[in-house]
Symmetry: C2
Subunit: 159 residues, 2 copies
Amino acid sequence: MDDPRELGDPGRSSFTLDQYPFYLLNRVVSRYNAIIGAELRKLGIDIPTWRVLMILGERAPRGIAEIAQAGVINISTMTRIIQRMTRDGLTECKPLADDARVTEVRLSAHGEEKLAVARAVTAPVYKRVIKGFSRREFEQLIASLNRLHDNLGQPPGEG
Amino acid sequence: MDDPRELGDPGRSSFTLDQYPFYLLNRVVSRYNAIIGAELRKLGIDIPTWRVLMILGERAPRGIAEIAQAGVINISTMTRIIQRMTRDGLTECKPLADDARVTEVRLSAHGEEKLAVARAVTAPVYKRVIKGFSRREFEQLIASLNRLHDNLGQPPGEG
DNA sequence: ATATAATGGTTGCACGTGCAAGTAATATAT
DNA sequence: ATATATTACTTGCACGTGCAACCATTATAT
């Protein structure tokens, strides 16, 4: 009864949703996205846009596929997210010099500004939500999420 | 530097995505949903349907709003999920006796079967993903997710 | 009794998404 | 050199979603 692989197992008769990690994960993510999404909407952006802003603010991905990979978003969807962002002046695109297939995407000045504002707006929400976490608990959470991520492997149709 | 509230804070200059819990959460959820979604598709159902099956299999919610609440899904969306499920013979609806406003939703026999099959199909994926977790780590994860959930409070436009 | 509010659910609309099939550019094989 | 495959991205299509406005039913106020 105490094998951890049986805890929260949807195949077991003792299964309940509150012990099912992916129900809890979905619930937390949905709520967080709902709240953050409402904040971002005031800035005229949505969550996918915000995620791309964060990614481009941190690394310099080589092409759209890599952004999609980093953002865990379908490539064709990412194409259109970048199209919207470029239309709205947040990003600039041009074919890469040594390989005209890949599209180089950079943040525009306007995009950098939006990112800064979005960070300022989301930070207080984040602080509220992380309240009560010790450093140990926080690090344990990160570690567990990374382990789950590794165990999941490469999903179909994401990169 | 070690105040946990500053760890992964999107407002800090030292911010990186791999230390941002909600990036990691989104990533894990997206991957899991992609994998599980592909499995469920073989059964002719999608993730929202699966979630409703699980909810109805566990409790007996009073009306559609309560299902939406439990499933962390918008009410109008839930209306249509139930419509689809009823069309496909997975659920049965009728107005409640003592209050004709609320819609009573029950699993049909076919719905029960689908739920059983879905459980059988998702269990091995779950076991693979939870691999390597000690009981302690598992319980710590559940606790952290519950804490995040509590800290988030009631989001806008979900129930 | 009658008007007003509140509750539970539904629908029109616009839009974002994923899949499958496409195009263009580069790499590989013959 | 030329055909074939692969890579990187794009687009047509069908569909699911959220928001806002709506309808129906019950509760409350006068």
